[in-house]
Symmetry: C2
Subunit: 349 residues, 2 copies
Amino acid sequence: MNDAPFDDGGPKSRRRSVSGPTSADVARLAGVSRSTVSRTFTPGASIDPVTAARVRAAAEELRYSVDPLARSLISRRSDTVGLVMGGLENPFYPAVAAGFMERLQQRDLRVMCHVAADIEAVADGVRAMLRYRVDALIVTASGMSNAAVDDCRRAGVTVIFFNRAVTLSAASSVQTDNVAGGRAVADHLAACGYARPAYVAGLANASTNRDRQAGFTDRLAERRLPAPRVESGGYTYEGGCDAATRLLRTKPRPDAIFCANDIMAMGVLDTLRHAHGLSVPDDMAVVGFDDVPMAGWPSFDLTTVRQRRNRMIEVTLDLLDDLRGDAEAPPVHRLIPGRLILRSSTRSP
Amino acid sequence: MNDAPFDDGGPKSRRRSVSGPTSADVARLAGVSRSTVSRTFTPGASIDPVTAARVRAAAEELRYSVDPLARSLISRRSDTVGLVMGGLENPFYPAVAAGFMERLQQRDLRVMCHVAADIEAVADGVRAMLRYRVDALIVTASGMSNAAVDDCRRAGVTVIFFNRAVTLSAASSVQTDNVAGGRAVADHLAACGYARPAYVAGLANASTNRDRQAGFTDRLAERRLPAPRVESGGYTYEGGCDAATRLLRTKPRPDAIFCANDIMAMGVLDTLRHAHGLSVPDDMAVVGFDDVPMAGWPSFDLTTVRQRRNRMIEVTLDLLDDLRGDAEAPPVHRLIPGRLILRSSTRSP
DNA sequence: CCAGCCACTGCACGCGTGTGCAATTGGCTT
DNA sequence: AAGCCAATTGCACACGCGTGCAGTGGCTGG
C-alpha cells in the first residue's frame, strides 16, 4: 500500500508515487516561484539563463517533466497530431503510416491514430480527436465531409489530405500527380504496341482512382486508341482477380490491363497466369500503381508508377510546420510527380 | 484579433468560438449546478433521471461534450490506450494494428501509436505515452526493458505484450504457441519425407523467433532428424533471399527450409525458383509462419502456420478489460494455438 | 406525529499548468 | 544624483472538470 519510502508531510504528498513531481515541487527545491519553473520550460519566455539552469537542475533531480495534459488544457495545444487512415490492406499505406510516425516522433510529437473506411466513420474519428485537441490532422487516402473539415477549421486545426484530392474544402493536400501517372501508363502501353487497353478501377469515389483513370483514358484518346474497358477491383487483390476474369470474357479481349494499384495488378497477374495459363507480357500486359516493394519481387516484376512516398511525407510535414497554428491560412495543394518503373510485366517499346 | 463575430459579454466568452461550450454553460441553461452536469456524464453517479434528461437536452442544444483533457487531468485516466509496434514491414502487423484500432474505437477509446525498432526507442515512446496518461499499453512484437515496464506499473498502467514472451517482468502477454507451431512444422516435414531441414531465423532477440526455432529443432531431434542448418533472415524479404542463397551453398544441401515468417519464406521461394531455377516442392520444401493473405496467393501458395490474428486480438482486449485499473494484478499469459496450413510449397505426406 | 433514512443537489476545493500584470532590481542616461 | 528603461520575477487568476462533504426535501416505520 505505502510504496513511497516515506511521506514528507507536504500538503500534496498523497499521490506522489503515481503522479510524479509537479512544478511546485521543483519551484520549492530551486527556491523560485512556480511561474519561473513554467517559464523555464516555455521556449521564448522571459527568464534569466542562470535561474533557468538552476531550475533545470532541480527538475533533473526530481525527475520532473511537464504534464502535457495540464499544459494543453490551458495552452490549447497538445503536441499531438491525428492520423486518419482509410485502411491498411494496401501495403503502401502501412509504410506511409510508419514514415509519418517515425518522423513525428522525431519531432517529439505524439500521434493519435484512427482507421475509418467510410466518410461517416472518418467524421466520427475526427471529432473524437478534435476533443483531444490534436494540433493537426493528416488524412491518408480517405474522404472527409466538408462539415468535418469545417469543424477542424473552427477548432483551429489544420488538416492535410495525403493522396486525396480536395475540391471546395478549406484543407490542404499532398498527392502524387495521379493524372500524369495515368497518362504515362497510356503512353508506355501505346509505345509498346498494345492496342486494346483495359482499366481495373479502385474505389469509385476515391480521387486517386478517378485521376488515374482520367489521365489514362484521356491520353489513350489523344493517341487515337480505343477507350479502355473498365472493371472495378475495389483496390483489393481479390477484386483484381475477379476483374481479370471478367475482362477475359469481353470481346475483343484486352491486351493490356492498367490497374489503379499494385495489389489489384498482382491479383490480375496471378489470375492470368495461374487460372488461365496466359503469359505476361506476351499475351497481355499488366501495369500497376504505387510501386510497393512486392512489385519488384521476381514473382511479379510489375511495371508500375512509383509514388515517391518519402518525398510526399516530407512535403506533408513541411506543410504542417508552415500551417500549424493558423487555420486561417489558405489551403495549399502539392502535386508530387510519380515515375514509371519499367519491368517485365510489359513488353519493351 | 477579434475573430469571434461578437462578444456576448459573459465573463468567459473570449474564446467561445474555438473552445466550445463548457459544463458551466450547460448548467446555466439547464438551471442546475455544474456538479450536476458533471454527474450526468459520469456513469454511476447519483443523479435523478429526470434532472439528467434535462441536462442532456441542454447539452444537446449547446452541442456540449465533456472535455476529455480536463477530465483526465483530475480523473487520472484518459480513455486512451497506447499501441507500440516494432515495425510494419511484415504485413501481419499492419493487420494487427488495424484490428486493434477498429475494436478500440468501437469501445470509444482513442489509440496513441508509436513505432520503435529497438528497446531504447520503445522505452522512450512508452515514457512519452505515460506522460499522456494512457490507460494501458499494448506492445506488439517488440521488446521492452524491465525498467520501462516498472515505470508503467508505477504509473498504474497495465501493459500487455502481443506476440512477445515476457519472462521476469510484471507484464501480461498474448501470443501464438510458437513452440507448438515449430513442432508442427517439424512433424509435417518429417511426414513428407524431407530429411535435411534448415531454418531461416528472424531477429535473434525476438521471442517469436526463438520459440519457433526451439520447437522446430527439438521436434526434429525427437524424430531423429539432423539439427537444422540455421541462417538469419532478419524477418525481411531480402534477408530471406540472402539466406536462401547461402543455404544453397551448404553441403549437404538442405531439402526443406522452415522460415520464421512468411515474408522471408517468399524471399526464399522467389530466390529458389527465379535465381536458381529450382522447383518447389520437388527440389525443396518451403514453410513459413503467420499465414498472411499473400501466402495463399497462387504465386506462392505457401505451407505455413496460421496465427489466429482476430482471436489473439480479442483475447488481448478481454485481458485489457480485466486488468485495466489495477496494475497490481498478477500478470496473465495466454497462448493461442496456431494451425498448420498445408499448401503446395511442401509435398503431400 | 416524529425520528430516521435515502436520494439528490450545491458548494468549494483540487488536478497541474500558462500568462497578464505589477513589482522589484540593476544599469544606464542626462 | 535622480530618473528612466529593460530584464526578471512573483502573484493571482484562469483552463474545464471530478468529487467529498454538507445540506435539502420527501418518505417510511414506529
